[in-house]
C-alpha cells in the first residue's frame, strides 16, 4: 500500500514513535513510502509539490496553519490535491487531529477537521474517509495497526471523532495498575512512586481519556500512570489543558468525573469507600513485611 506523509507544524514525534514499533521492519514490507520526512522514499518533496499519482493513504501530521507554505506551495493545496487522490486519510497525532500543542502558539491553527472539539468545515469533503489517531505522540502500535487494517480492508469501527474503537474505545484507566487505590480513594501519591491514585490531587485524566496506553504499553514496558506520573489526556480534543499536574476541584470534589459516571453516584460511592481505612494501601508496596 502506497503512503504519503505530509507534515505541517510538527515536532516529528509521531514519525519517531512509528520508528519504535517493535515489528517495524516486517510491517513496512507491506507499505511503500511515496514520501516520508525521515524514511527512504520514492519521491523527493519538490517532486511531491510538482505532482505525483498513486497515493492510497495520505497521512497528515502536525498542526495546520492558515496560509502555511511548506516549501513553495501552500500546504492547503497539497492537502486538497492528495486528499482527493487518497482512498483514506489518517490524521496522525493530536496536532493534526485537534490542533494540539502547536495550536496554542498562534491564531488560525487547527487540526484537519477540528479546532479542539469544534468540527471545522474546511476539509469536509474528506471527513468520511478520515481516520483520527490522536496522541502526543500516537502510539506506534496504533498507527501501524490502523494502517494494516486499512491495507487489509478489514472493518474499522470508529467513534464520533473518527478514532478507531479498537484502540480508543477504552480509557487509560483500563489496565492502570493503580486501580485499587482509585477504588478505595487513596490519594497519598508522590510522583514516581508505585503507590496511590493520581486522580484526586495530581491531575490524572486517565478515567476520562480514550486510549490504549495501559493495554498496549509504551516500549512494551510502561505507561505514564504505571511510572507514577498522571495521564495528561493527550488523545482528547482539549489537550493540552493548563495545570496538567493538578486536579481542578470544587471544594475538594474533582471538577471532572470519570467518563459517564453521574456525580451523585460517584460521590455516594466515594463516601463509602473513603470510610474504610484499609491498612494494605497505606504501606509502601516494597516495604519489608516484617518491618
Amino acid at each position: 500500500m502506497r503512503l504519503l506523509w505530509l507534515s505541517a507544524l510538527a515536532c516529528n514525534g509521531n514519525a519517531h514513535s512509528l520508528l519504535n514499533y517493535p515489528g517495524f521492519q516486517e510491517w513496512q514490507e507491506d507499505f511503500h513510502w511515496l514520501y516520508h520526512p525521515l524514511l527512504p522514499s520514492r519521491y523527493t518533496f519538490p517532486e511531491i509539490e510538482k505532482g505525483i499519482e498513486g497515493v492510497e493513504v495520505l497521512i497528515v501530521d502536525g498542526t495546520l496553519e492558515e496560509g502555511l507554505i511548506k516549501n513553495r506551495l501552500p500546504y492547503r493545496e497539497l492537502l486538497l490535491r492528495y486528499g482527493d487522490q487518497a482512498e483514506r486519510i489518517v490524521t496522525v497525532g493530536t496536532c493534526a487531529t485537534f490542533g494540539g500543542i502547536f495550536a496554542q502558539g498562534g491564531g488560525g491553527r487547527s487540526g484537519l477537521h477540528f479546532e479542539g472539539d469544534e468540527h471545522l468545515k474546511g476539509y469536509e469533503r474528506f471527513w468520511e474517509k478520515t481516520v483520527s489517531l490522536p496522541g502526543c505522540p500516537v502510539q506506534p502500535e496504533v498507527l501501524a495497526g490502523t494502517l494494516s487494517i486499512i491495507r487489509r480492508r478489514d472493518p474499522l469501527p470508529l467513534d464520533t471523532l473518527h478514532r478507531p474503537k479498537y484502540f480508543y474505545a477504552y480509557t487509560i484507566h483500563d489496565g492502570c495498575t493503580r486501580n485499587e487505590y482509585f477504588e478505595y480513594k487513596i490519594d497519598e501519591h508522590h510522583f514516581g512512586t508505585l503507590e496511590g491514585c493520581m486522580f484526586y490531587d495530581h491531575g490524572c485524566q486517565g478515567t476520562f481519556t480514550h486510549g490504549s496506553c495501559n493495554k498496549i504499553l509504551w516500549n512494551g514496558v510502561n505507561s505514564k500512570t504505571r511510572a507514577g506520573t498522571p495521564c495528561l489526556g493527550c488523545t482528547e480534543p482539549d489537550f493540552p489543558r493548563e495545570g496538567l499536574w493538578r486536579t481542578p476541584k470544587h471544594m475538594g470534589i474533582p471538577a471532572r468525573m470519570p467518563l459517564g459516571v453521574p456525580r451523585r453516584a460517584y460521590l455516594g460511592l466515594a463516601g463509602i469507600a473513603k470510610a474504610f481505612r484499609i491498612e494494605r494501601f497505606t504501606r509502601p508496596l516494597m516495604e519489608d513485611e516484617g518491618g
Binding site: K249, H250, M251, G252, I253, A255, R263, R264, L267, G268, G271, I272, K274, A275, F276
Partner: protein, 202 residues
C-alpha cells in the same frame, strides 16, 4: 394482593413502626437508658419478635441514622435540582433543617444527642460518613454546583461543611435547651445571610 405481598407489606410497616418508636425514645432518653423491651412494649410486640427485625440495639440505631440522612438528603436534593441562585438555595437548606427540627424534633435530637454523642454505637457498620452518606453527598453537590457557577468560594470542603452544618446544629441545640429568646424560624433570614456571606466568592 397475594398473601406473600401482604406479608411483606405488613413486615415493612412493622419495621417502620419500630424505627419510629425507637427514634422517639432514643431522642428523648438517650441510647443507653432506652432498652429493647421498652421499645417492644411501646409497640405491643414481643421482645423476641423485635429481634427478628433488628438483631441489636446498635443496628437499630444505625438504621435510624440512615433513614434520617436519607430523609434530609432527599429534601436537599430538591434544592440542588432547582435553578435557584445559591443565596436562595442556602435559605431553603436552612429552612429545611429548622423545619425538620420543629416538625420532627426527634430526628435532629437523635442526630445531636445519639449519633454525635455516642460514637461507639456507630463504629462498626457506620464507619466514617457511611450512614450519613446521602445527606453529605447532597451537601457536596450543593458546594460543587456553587463553585462551578462562580457563586461560592473554592475552599477546603470541611472548612465549608463545618461552617454550614456546625452553625445549624448549634442553633438547634440552643433551641432545644430553650436558650434562644425567639422562635427558631425567626433566625432563618439572618443565619442564611451569614452563611452566604461566609461562603460566597469574595
Amino acid at each position: 394482593m397475594s398473601s406473600t405481598t401482604e406479608r411483606v407489606d405488613r413486615k415493612a410497616k412493622k419495621r417502620e413502626k419500630i424505627v419510629r418508636t425507637a427514634l422517639k425514645l432514643f431522642a428523648k432518653q438517650g441510647f443507653y437508658t432506652t432498652t429493647i423491651p421498652e421499645i417492644a412494649g411501646k409497640i405491643g410486640m414481643s421482645v423476641g419478635n423485635l429481634y427478628n427485625y433488628f438483631s441489636s440495639k446498635e443496628i437499630l440505631a444505625q438504621e435510624i441514622i440512615r433513614e434520617i440522612s436519607a430523609y434530609l438528603g432527599s429534601r436537599i436534593r430538591e434544592v440542588n435540582d432547582s435553578d435557584l441562585h445559591v443565596r436562595e438555595k442556602i435559605r431553603r437548606i436552612v429552612s429545611i433543617y429548622f423545619e425538620t427540627a420543629r416538625n420532627e424534633p426527634e430526628m435532629i435530637d437523635f442526630f445531636l444527642r445519639v449519633y454525635l454523642s455516642n460514637r461507639e454505637v456507630f463504629h462498626e457498620g457506620c464507619e466514617g460518613m457511611i450512614c450519613v452518606n446521602e445527606f453529605v453527598t447532597e451537601i457536596m453537590i450543593f458546594f460543587d454546583d456553587g463553585v462551578a457557577n462562580g457563586e461560592l468560594k473554592n475552599q477546603d470542603f470541611f472548612s465549608a461543611f463545618g461552617l454550614f452544618m456546625g452553625y445549624l446544629g448549634g442553633m438547634v441545640f440552643l433551641n432545644g435547651e430553650r436558650i434562644l429568646p425567639r422562635r427558631l424560624e425567626s433566625y432563618i433570614d439572618d443565619i442564611s445571610e451569614n452563611i452566604y456571606n461566609a461562603l460566597k466568592v469574595p
